[in-house]
Amino acid sequence: MEETLRWIFPAEMQKVFETVCLQQSKISEIRLRAMRPILIRRSGEEWFVEENGRLTKSPDPAAKISVKQLQTILDRACQNSPYAYEEELKNGFLTIRGGHRIGVTGQVVAEGEKKIRTQKYITGLNIRVAHEVSTAADDVLSQIYRKGQVLSVLILSPPGCGKTTFLRALIRRVSDGNPYGGGKNVGVVDERSEIAGAYQGEFAYDLGMRTDVLDACPKQAGISLLLRSMSPEVIAVDEIGEQGDYELLRKLSTCGCKLFATAHGDSLQDILRKFMLTKQELGAVFDRVVLLEKRDGKCQVKAVEALEDEACI
């Protein structure tokens, strides 16, 4: 796997992050907190990083990171242009080249009572390393097709279980075509630039030959634009969660388009409670719910539930 993270670490910290960069493919998370040991999650296990780059299970010899160093890393991640990421920083995270997502915490500069203007004095960064597992969706392909037609799929899991990775793999397989159905035109509204990992018009991940991507675009505007301009057969969006999102997708399901979406949740009941829906109402938008879980440090499919007929697994 290509090293796509090294560039965010300044020269004086390259040694500390040497192993982390070399083992990027196995690492899912890097947690940096001011004056606290550097923590990483590798193959589902938690490790600390020493000054010489070695990984250790003990926090005592672990390297610590200063506020200044955190600021430098963020600055590099923003390409010395934090103003260009103002909106992302307001939301507490930004997506960098390669599709990796960096969560940011610090002192919030509030605007009124409800709005966040920006964050300063950064004290924590959570780097979620993006991975491409092109076969992630292969096991469920047979269950998301009916008579050669692809169905609408909601991918559900708690954070860090590979929803985006699964969605990416699913988009690619549907776009390119597979043994269960021919290739479809897929429109992706990549609100957080995570699905395609776009950077200056270049995609870090292969989403298939029939995929059109609207990068950094709000869902509602993006879906309308795709419908008007690209006549997609499937529309894919990441992380639905707002009340308006369900309404938007419900309207879209009446346009003849199939939908792929992801959401945070432990079970189908979670998502029904979140959107205050019945199973039938959710079934009006999605045909299948794919539940993901992390077992023994590996992300895998827990179950595929059919919303309109009997369960598939």
């Binding site: 010395n80 242009s81 934090p82 103003y83 260009a84 103002e86 920083l89 920006t118 300063k120």
Partner: protein, 173 residues
């Protein structure tokens, strides 16, 4: 006799050439300063219109501006993509200093231009554009001073070249 005339002509031409070269350098410095100002103006517009990051602004301008600015910004892009040092401010400053070393610009002109680059990134668009405007003001002051003195200095350099040539001929003859 002919040799003396030939030598005198050569001395006169040489000294006049020196004066003309000085005038050309002076005018070229003004042209280069105007070019730097154009780069800054373009960056400010790119930020205002598309909220582009500094590397994106630089690349976008590289395809729009004329030479020598196009090559300069493409070199920045090359260095930015190729190097291990991914601090854009550092890459930009080093490349610009290196590339403009042999230009008619003075060291101070380049430093004033580079003032827009943040040591630590600006969290706000207005702040970044403010920095660019400050750099433009600095360049504007230098430009105004040079323009004010352009006519007399140009005339003086040519006249001085000519006079020194004549003086040299007189001394040598």
């Amino acid at each position: 006799m002919y040799i003396k005339i030939l030598a005198g002509t050569m001395i006169l031409t040489g000294c006049l050439g020196l004066g003309l070269w000085y005038r050309r350098q002076y005018r070229e410095r003004i042209r280069y300063l105007q070019g730097l100002d154009q780069v800054l103006e373009g960056m400010s517009r790119e930020i205002a219109y598309g909220r582009n990051s500094l590397p994106e602004c630089s690349l976008a301008l590289a395809h729009r501006l004329k030479e020598p600015w196009q090559s300069l910004l493409l070199r920045v892009e090359e260095a930015w993509k190729a190097g291990m040092n991914y601090d854009f401010s550092e890459v930009f400053s080093e490349t610009v200093r290196g590339e403009l070393k042999n230009s008619p610009l003075r060291g101070n002109d380049i430093e004033v231009f580079l003032e827009f680059l943040p040591v630590e990134g600006c969290f706000d668009e207005e702040m970044q554009r403010g920095r660019i405007e400050r750099s433009r003001d600095g360049l504007g002051r230098i430009l105004n001073g040079l323009r004010k003195e352009e006519e007399p200095k140009s005339r003086m350099s040519v006249t001085l070249g000519l006079m020194s040539g004549l003086l040299l001929i007189l001394i040598l003859s």
